[in-house]
Symmetry: C2
Subunit: 155 residues, 2 copies
DNA sequence: CCTTGACCTCAAGTCAGCTTGAACTGGCAG
DNA sequence: CTGCCAGTTCAAGCTGACTTGAGGTCAAGG
């Protein structure tokens, strides 16, 4: 594979050029040189970007992800960290599942006012107790049809 | 029940006074008057705050939540909106579940380097495809002991 | 009467993860 | 040679949900 310019990397990875420059500044990726002013990337950066996307999807911050790359560039991912994040996700999932069930009930509930519905009041109680916390919104990008892909590929 | 000052509302709801002022500014809550400069709140504001917490937990923004309160202050929650949010959560949950399973596998994987593991590479491919997106972190606050409080005061 | 301290207002700061804009550069097609 | 245009830098802006700080007010206790 040939070297890539930033537009090519952006095109193949789906990551905007501005974000790529930002990642470089943060030390998450590196170009292998310059042609004039222009950055030149090794195709391997695509895998690197995939790892970054994976980390982000799992809920790691960019700073945390940076720590997962050893100085030599090889990913050095602590399995304990992964397991901890999985547990984290598990808790989030349970929380969100409860909310989803609550919402579905409220949506279907025949009570004239939501406050008349005992189930609604139960969820409300839970929310007030701080049990549940706001989920994160997705970024500006959203190729939602890709959901099926992970189901097929990952599951 | 007596009127409450802002500190009392903060204590009982677990919401910091600064956030209460912010909510008032946004029109999410209202005080029933002033004693001197100081805001005076009706105890009903606690239920209101519980609703707000519920909305936040379900992933609604403050602006969206504001729209759910009719001008008279009664919650007027469109059941379609609730159902849509539930579907939203469902998608998020599926996404996170896939991530969690992937992480668990990677954590348990015996391959010396993660990149040697076929499963890891599959997840990676999925992440690169833009399938998965970052989840949201919870807010900084979590006064979980407040559970009992709302149970007593509001419900 | 005077101090204390909880409350007030308003502006600005915080955090993450980028995006946007202005001003500039340089390789290459014509 | 020239102009195009994709690339560059650096600084500033954005979103959301608040927090923090400076400076001001007021009711009550001593």
């Amino acid at each position: 594979m040939k070297d890539l310019d930033i537009a090519e990397v952006a095109r193949r990875s789906g990551v905007p050029a501005s974000a790529l420059r930002f990642y470089e500044e943060k030390g998450l990726i590196a170009s292998i040189g310059r042609r004039g002013l222009r950055r030149v990337f090794d195709p391997g950066v695509l895998e690197r970007l995939a790892l970054i996307a994976l980390g982000r999807a799992a809920g790691f911050s960019l700073d945390e992800i940076a720590l997962m790359f050893a100085p030599d560039g090889q990913p050095q991912i602590d399995r304990k960290v992964l397991a901890a994040k999985a547990d984290d996700l598990d808790r989030t999932i349970r929380r969100l599942s409860a909310m989803r069930d609550g919402l579905r009930h409220a949506a279907a509930c025949p009570a004239p006012r939501h406050m008349d519905c005992p189930s609604f009041r139960r969820i409300l109680k839970a929310a007030a107790s701080g049990v549940v916390k706001p989920p994160k919104k997705r970024g500006p990008r959203s190729p939602s049809e890709c959901i099926a892909i992970v189901e097929r590929e990952v599951m």
